[in-house]
C-alpha cells in the first residue's frame, strides 16, 4: 500500500478526521473562545447526542422514536433532582440518567415493537403527553410547572467544574458516544440493523431475532438522550417543563433527517444547523414549525440520505473506495468446510384458511447430496421451505436436523441451528458491498458480540478476521472474489442470485435450502450455479433445491422429489423420477419424455 492509499484509507475508513475535529473543538477555549460560543457549542453537542440516538433507532433500525425528548427530559430532571439532594458529580448524573433512559426506552419499546412500526411511533409519542403530568404529579421533587433553578457548578470526581471544564466534558462525552456508536454501527449488530430495515424476513433467516434487534436498537438509541439531559441541566442551570416540548421534538427530528439519518456523523451537522441556522432567528419563529415539517416531507420523499448521503455520493465520485484487504489473497476454496447433516421431514401438514397447502410430506435428505423438489405451481414447494426454515409454523408433523427437532422454533433459531436459505427475489440491501453481504451469512454463528465490538476488544478483531476470511473463501468458491468491493446492488440479477447462495455458504450451513436459484439465469450463470452447488455437495453439504428448470434439476440433483397438491408423488434418482408416469402426467408432460440431451435446453425457450 502506498502512503497515499494509506492516508486516504485513514481519512475514509476510520473516524480519524472526526476525532481530530472534535479535539480541535474541545481545545477552542485555549484560543480564546468566548463564553457565549462555548454555550452554543455545548448546545450543539447536546443536540448531537439526541440526534445520534435517533439515527440509530430511526436511520438504521427504521423505528421512529418520538419519545426522545421525554428521555432527554428524564435525564435533565434526574440530574437536577440529584443535585438538589447533594449529588453534584456529573459522572454520577450520567450513570443514573443512562439507566433511567434504558428503562424509559424499554417501557415503550417492548409493547410498541411487538406491532408494526406505527405502534412504536405512537406509544413513544405518548410520552409527550405524559411528561408534563408526571412532573406535576411529583411536584415536590420536580418543582412542577415552575421547574428547578440554580443547578450550577457540577463536580467531577469532587473537583468543581468551571464553565470551560463543563464545555470540555460536554464535547468529550459527545465524542466518546459517537465513537462507541460508530463502532456499533460497523459491527455485526449494525450490519444486522441495515439488513433489518431492508427485510425482516431476511434478518430472521440470517439468525437475527427481529424483535430483539429492534428493542436493542431502540433502547440503545435512547441512552444518549439521557446523557444529553444531564448536560442540558448543567448548561442552563435550570429545568422546567417548557424546555421539553413537541416543538423541540420536531426540531430534533428535522435536524436528524437533514444531517442524514442513516449516518453516524450526520448528527453533529444537523445539530449545528439547528443551533446556528436561521430558524433560530426571532423573525422566523412563527414559520419554523412549518419549515421543519417541509424538511421532513421533502427529505423523506426525495433525499432520504440527508446531507450525509449527499456527502457520501460526492466522496464516492471523487475518491473511489479502496478494495478490502485480503480479497483474493489466494485463499483456496478448500478452507471452507460445510458440515452437512441429515434432514428429515415427516408427516408435515399445513393449511391456509382451510386451503391445504401441504398434506403429509415426508422426505429425507442425506449429507453430501443435492435433493431437488419439483412440481407445478401451488404444489407446496416454497411452503415446505418456509416451514423447514421456521418462517411458517407447521400444523402437524416434524422437521429434524441430525435428530434435533426444529418444529416450533422461530426462523432465527432455526437459522442458528444451521439452516441456511436463499430467497426467490434477492433483497436490495442498499449500499452494502458484496463482501459485507457475504459476511452477513456468518452472523448466525456465535453471538453478536456487540459489547466487544463497541469496545474493540481483541475478540471483536478475531471474529471479524474469521468472518472476512470465510466470506472471501465463499466468494472464491463461486469465482466472485473480484467483485468483493462492489456495491451488491450494482451487480446483475443473475450474479445477485449466485451471491445469495454464496452468502449462505459462508455461514457453513448444515442444510442449505435454495428457492429457485436458477430462475432468470443465462446459460453461463446456470453453469456457474451448477458448479457451485456441486462444490458445496462435494464439501459435505446437504443441499435442498426448489426449482422449475427441469433440465438443470435433472443434471445437478442426486435425488428428486416430485410434489403435487401438497404431497410427494414420486421420489428417487433423477432418471427414475423423470420416467414416473404420474410425474409426467402432472408436471413434466412433453418435456419429461425427451431424451437426456435436452439438458442444454432452457425450458423458457420451449
Amino acid at each position: 500500500m502506498s502512503t497515499r492509499q494509506r492516508l486516504s484509507a485513514l481519512a475514509l475508513d476510520t473516524p480519524a478526521p472526526a476525532i481530530a475535529a472534535f479535539v480541535l473543538v474541545a481545545l477552542l477555549p485555549l484560543f480564546g473562545l468566548a463564553g457565549h460560543w462555548q454555550q452554543q457549542l455545548a448546545l450543539i453537542a447536546i443536540y448531537t447526542l439526541i440526534c445520534s440516538g435517533l439515527n440509530l433507532s430511526f436511520g438504521y433500525a427504521g423505528e421512529l422514536a418520538l419519545g426522545q425528548v421525554a428521555v432527554f427530559a428524564s435525564g435533565a430532571y434526574i440530574s437536577a433532582i440529584l443535585y438538589q439532594h447533594g449529588f453534584t458529580d456529573i459522572l454520577g448524573g450520567f450513570a443514573v440518567a443512562v439507566c433511567l433512559a434504558a428503562v424509559t426506552g424499554l417501557l415503550t419499546g417492548i409493547p410498541g415493537l411487538r406491532l408494526s412500526r406505527w405502534a412504536l411511533a405512537l406509544v413513544s409519542f405518548f410520552y409527550v403527553l405524559l411528561v408534563p403530568e408526571l412532573l406535576k404529579l411529583f411536584e415536590s421533587e420536580t418543582g412542577g410547572t415552575a421547574g428547578l433553578a440554580g443547578i450550577l457548578a457540577p463536580t467531577f470526581f469532587g473537583w468543581p467544574l468551571g464553565t470551560t471544564g463543563f464545555y470540555v466534558v460536554a464535547v468529550v462525552v459527545t465524542l466518546l458516544w459517537m465513537l462507541l456508536q460508530r463502532n456499533l454501527i460497523v459491527s455485526r449488530f449494525g450490519q444486522f440493523l441495515r439488513i433489518l430495515s431492508a427485510s425482516p424476513t431476511l434478518t430472521e433467516s440470517l439468525g437475527g431475532s427481529v424483535y430483539r434487534l429492534r428493542v436493542q436498537a431502540y433502547v440503545i438509541g435512547a441512552l444518549p438522550a439521557g446523557l444529553a439531559g444531564v448536560l442540558y441541566t448543567y448548561l442552563t442551570g435550570f429545568v422546567s417543563p417548557e424546555a421539553f416540548t413537541l416543538h423541540l421534538l420536531i426540531a430534533l427530528l428535522a435536524a436528524t433527517v437533514v444531517g442524514g439519518a442513516a449516518s453516524v456523523w450526520g448528527a453533529p451537522v444537523g445539530a449545528a444547523i439547528l443551533v446556528l441556522g436561521p430558524l433560530q432567528l426571532k423573525s422566523f419563529e412563527e414559520y419554523s414549525t412549518l419549515a421543519y415539517g417541509v424538511f421532513l416531507v421533502v427529505i423523506g420523499t426525495a433525499f432520504s440520505g440527508g446531507l450525509a448521503g449527499l456527502a457520501r455520493k460526492l466522496r464516492d465520485r471523487v475518491l473511489p473506495r479502496p478494495g478490502p484487504q485480503g480479497a483474493g489473497d489466494g485463499e483456496s476454496a478448500a478452507d471452507l468446510s460445510i458440515p452437512g447433516t441429515r434432514m428429515v421431514v415427516a408427516g408435515v401438514e399445513k393449511s391456509f384458511a382451510g386451503l391445504r397447502a401441504l398434506s403429509g410430506v415426508d422426505l429425507t435428505v442425506e449429507p453430501g447430496t443435492i435433493a431437488a423438489i419439483i412440481g407445478p405451481n401451488g404444489a407446496g414447494k416454497t411452503t415446505l421451505l418456509n416451514l423447514v426454515s421456521g418462517l411458517l409454523p407447521a400444523d402437524t408433523g416434524r422437521v429434524e436436523l441430525a435428530g434435533r427437532e426444529l418444529t416450533g422454533l422461530r426462523a432465527h433459531q432455526v437459522s442458528r441451528l444451521g439452516v441456511g436459505r436463499t430467497f426467490q427475489t434477492p433483497v436490495d440491501l442498499g449500499s452494502m458491498s458484496v463482501l459485507e453481504v457475504v459476511e452477513s451469512g456468518r452472523f448466525r454463528k456465535g453471538n453478536l458480540g456487540s459489547l466487544s465490538a463497541i469496545l474493540r476488544l481483541p475478540k471483536y478483531h478475531r471474529v471479524r478476521e474469521a468472518d472476512r476470511k470465510a466470506a472471501v473463501a465463499a466468494l472464491s468458491f463461486a469465482g466472485l472474489e473480484h467483485a468483493a468491493a462492489q456495491d451488491a446492488a450494482s451487480l446483475p440479477l443473475g450474479t445477485r442470485r449466485l451471491l445469495e447462495v454464496v452468502r449462505s455458504v459462508a455461514g457453513e450451513p448444515s442444510v442449505l435450502l435454495l428457492d429457485e436459484p436458477a430462475a432468470g439465469l443465462d446459460d453461463s450463470e446456470l453453469r456457474e450455479l451448477g458448479m457451485l452447488m456441486r462444490r458445496i455437495r462435494d464439501a459435505g453439504g446437504t443441499v435442498v433445491l426448489v426449482e422449475h428448470n427441469v433440465p438443470f434439476v435433472m443434471d445437478v440433483a442426486d435425488q428428486v422429489f416430485a410434489m403435487e397438491l401438497g404431497r410427494v408423488i414420486a421420489a428417487g434418482p433423477p432418471e427414475v423420477v423423470r420416467r414416473d408416469q404420474r410425474v409426467i402426467d402432472s408436471y413434466l408432460g412433453r418435456r419429461g419424455r425427451r431424451e437426456p440431451a435436452d439438458h442444454e435446453l432452457d425450458p423458457r425457450t420451449t
Binding site: F58, G62, E63, L64, L66, L107, T108, I110, P111, G112, L113, R114, L115, S116, R117, W118, A119, A121, L122, V123, F125, F126, V128, L129, L130, E133, L134, K136, L137, S197, P200, V210, Y211, R214, L246, I250, L253, V257, A261, E286, Y287, S288, T289, L290, A291, Y292, G293, V294, F295, L296, V297, I299, G300, T301, A302, S304
Partner: protein, 290 residues
C-alpha cells in the same frame, strides 16, 4: 352519571379519530398520522367560516369537508405516494413523511391563526339537559349520535360496497389485488380524501367540544390511537367501543384521582393491550409484522 356522559362524549371524539385512522388502514394498510391534526384543522376552519364569514353551521360543515378532503388528497399525493412508489407501503420512510405532514399542518395553523386558543359556541345551544340522572350538553348528544352513525355507516361501507371489499383485498395482498384489476393507488387516495373530509365535516361539532387550539392535535392523535388499539385495528365497531372505553377511563380517572392521572392510566392501558391482545378487542387483523 354525569361522569359517564362526559366520558361517552369525549369518547365519541376519540372514536371518530379512530374511524378516520381506520379508513386509511382498511383501504391501504397505511397509518395516517395526520388524521388528528386534520381534525384540528377542521375545528379551526369551522371557527373561521362561522365566526369570520358568518356561514351557517351546515355551510361550514360542507366547506370544511371539501377543504379537509383536499388536505387529505395533498397528504397522499405529496407525503405518501412518492414514498410508496420508492420504498413500498411498509418501509419506514413513510413514518417520517407522514409525521412531517402532521408538522406542516400544525405549523400552517400556528402561522395563520396563531397559538392563542379560540372558542366556537355550539350552534345547537349550550343549555344542559338531564338524562338518566346525569347532566350533559346538546353537543355531547350530537357527538355520540354522530360517532355511532359514522362507525355503523363505515362498517356497512367496508363490508357491502365494492370500494370497501377491494380495500380488504388490497391490504391483504396488494400484488394479487393489482393483478385482479384493483386500482390500489386510487383506493389509497380516496381513503385519504374520505378520512380528511370526515375530519372537516365534523368541525362545527368538534370545535365546541375540544376547542380551537393547536395544542389539541397531540392528544387527539394519541387518544384516537388508543381507541383504535383497544377496539382493534380494522374494526369500525371496535373504534366505537375503544373510543367509549378511553373516554370513560379518562372521565372517571380525572374525577376520582385527579387531572394528572388520566394520561398515565391510559398509557398503562395501551401498553397492557399491546402486550396482552395486540389485535385489540375486536380486531381480526393484527398489525403484527414480527
Amino acid at each position: 352519571m354525569t361522569t359517564i356522559w362526559t366520558g361517552l362524549a369525549i369518547g365519541a371524539v376519540y372514536a371518530l379519530v379512530a374511524v378516520g385512522y381506520n379508513i386509511t388502514m382498511a383501504q391501504s394498510g397505511i397509518f395516517n398520522f395526520t388524521q388528528g391534526q386534520v381534525m384540528v384543522f377542521g375545528c379551526f376552519f369551522a371557527w373561521f367560516t362561522m365566526v369570520d364569514l358568518n356561514l351557517p353551521w351546515w355551510g361550514a360543515a360542507v366547506a370544511g369537508a371539501v377543504v379537509c378532503g383536499l388536505i387529505g388528497l395533498l397528504v397522499e399525493l405529496l407525503a405518501v405516494r412518492p414514498v410508496v412508489a420508492r420504498h413500498g407501503a411498509h418501509g419506514h420512510a413513510l413514518l417520517v413523511t407522514t409525521v412531517g405532514a402532521f408538522v406542516i399542518i400544525l405549523g400552517a395553523l400556528a402561522a395563520t391563526w396563531g397559538r392563542t386558543p379560540k372558542s366556537l359556541p355550539f350552534f345547537g345551544g349550550s343549555e344542559t339537559v338531564t338524562l338518566l340522572g346525569g347532566k350533559l350538553s346538546p353537543v355531547d348528544l350530537w357527538l355520540v349520535a354522530i360517532a355511532v352513525v359514522t362507525a355503523l355507516a363505515m362498517h356497512l361501507v367496508s363490508g357491502r360496497t365494492s370500494w370497501g371489499l377491494s380495500g380488504r383485498a388490497a391490504t391483504d395482498n396488494p400484488d394479487a389485488a393489482k393483478a385482479k384489476g384493483v386500482n390500489v393507488t386510487a383506493l389509497r387516495t380516496t381513503a385519504f380524501m374520505l378520512a380528511g373530509a370526515l375530519g372537516g365535516l365534523l368541525g362545527p361539532v368538534l370545535a365546541p367540544k375540544v376547542g380551537v387550539s393547536v395544542s389539541i392535535g397531540v392528544s387527539l392523535t394519541i387518544y384516537g390511537f388508543v381507541a383504535l388499539a383497544l377496539g382493534g385495528f380494522g374494526s369500525y365497531l371496535g373504534c366505537l367501543v375503544g373510543g367509549a372505553a378511553v373516554g370513560l377511563v379518562q372521565a372517571s380517572a380525572g374525577r376520582y384521582f385527579g387531572a394528572e392521572y388520566p394520561p398515565l392510566i391510559l398509557f398503562g392501558l395501551l401498553v397492557l393491550i399491546l402486550l396482552v391482545k395486540p389485535t385489540g378487542l375486536f380486531g381480526h387483523r393484527g398489525l403484527r409484522v414480527v
